[in-house]
Symmetry: C2
Subunit: 209 residues, 2 copies
Amino acid sequence: MHILHTHYHRRMASTEIEALVQQLARLPGLGPRSARRAVLHLMKKRESSFAPLLAALQTVSERLVTCGICGNVDTSDPCAICADPRRDPRSLCVVEEVSDLWALDKSRLFPGKYHVLGGRLSALEGVRPQDLSIDALVARVAAGGIDEVVLAMNATLEGQTTAHYLAERLEGYPVRLTQLAHGLPVGGELDYLDEGTLAQALRARRPVS
Amino acid sequence: MHILHTHYHRRMASTEIEALVQQLARLPGLGPRSARRAVLHLMKKRESSFAPLLAALQTVSERLVTCGICGNVDTSDPCAICADPRRDPRSLCVVEEVSDLWALDKSRLFPGKYHVLGGRLSALEGVRPQDLSIDALVARVAAGGIDEVVLAMNATLEGQTTAHYLAERLEGYPVRLTQLAHGLPVGGELDYLDEGTLAQALRARRPVS
Ligand SMILES: [Zn+2]
Ligand SMILES: [Zn+2]
């Protein structure tokens, strides 16, 4: 039995399907192999998986907005968190990224609202205070009604530099400044931590010295 | 520092975003956690990831068809494989599912064309010969021009029962019937195997006794 080794670029599926596999393979946690399996799954479950996924993506894609109050990304402005009357408006938790907000809020331990900076100060990457949503944060605090601001930056050098800078900017306002307890692994990114670690860090949060 | 434990159903994001996370979490290889990360990634990379992924899904969703010749699923009919003039039409590889076709063809070791049955015979699941694309296979063989039919069923009891049944149905036609060498792990599903195992099984394929 001979096997021909063909050396031209042989196509197994249409370029459209290959393009879809490539797009999916770029998502975090997926690779070419799992992307291929996902596409096969979608093609097999056209009604029960493909159609609802496509509809969900379309809806989110059409409605995605950045919240004008907190910088969260959601399908409404104000976002679901800012619009929730049962959240305590006196507590404000400042995070670097939307992913950090999700990581913290998933734990359901923080009863208040959030503020998303959109990054962290970084000399290396040339990120300056005016590149982040810091003026908006100061304005929210200056507007009053907030008792505590939790600086929930990542436990990285840049995160801590950012927290320090924010503490300076918020000096003089009648708010308690706190930060997450360090118990976080050094260099750790918030949104990779398990809920237990996050809960502990949040429970033991302490005033910014 | 007190933490309020709220017990109402608190929403972190809009129901649209939660729905998207749930749809993604149902894909093989993804779970709730990685689906959440994928959605965050898409929301962050709206232009470079979200838009192209959505476009790719839409295109494939609109154009997906089952190939009238071989039963493969592609965005054209005939599919890319059936339409490829550089593939050897004298070799036909019969597989249970489209995923098996992809698994085999990825290895680039088989130079011919395919036939997808759409399943395997199963007394337990009530899958009978008329539920599979078997008449179409016999018709392709009867039409002539095919020298070899590789029965590339899974190494499961049902796969082997199906191969046996196909061998009976194709008896009397002037084609060599072969099957993948067993070396495949018993109970193994083709599309979970690594290319090396598949290549070996294909190289050592033997006539159906
Ligand atoms: Zn908001
Ligand atoms: Zn085809």
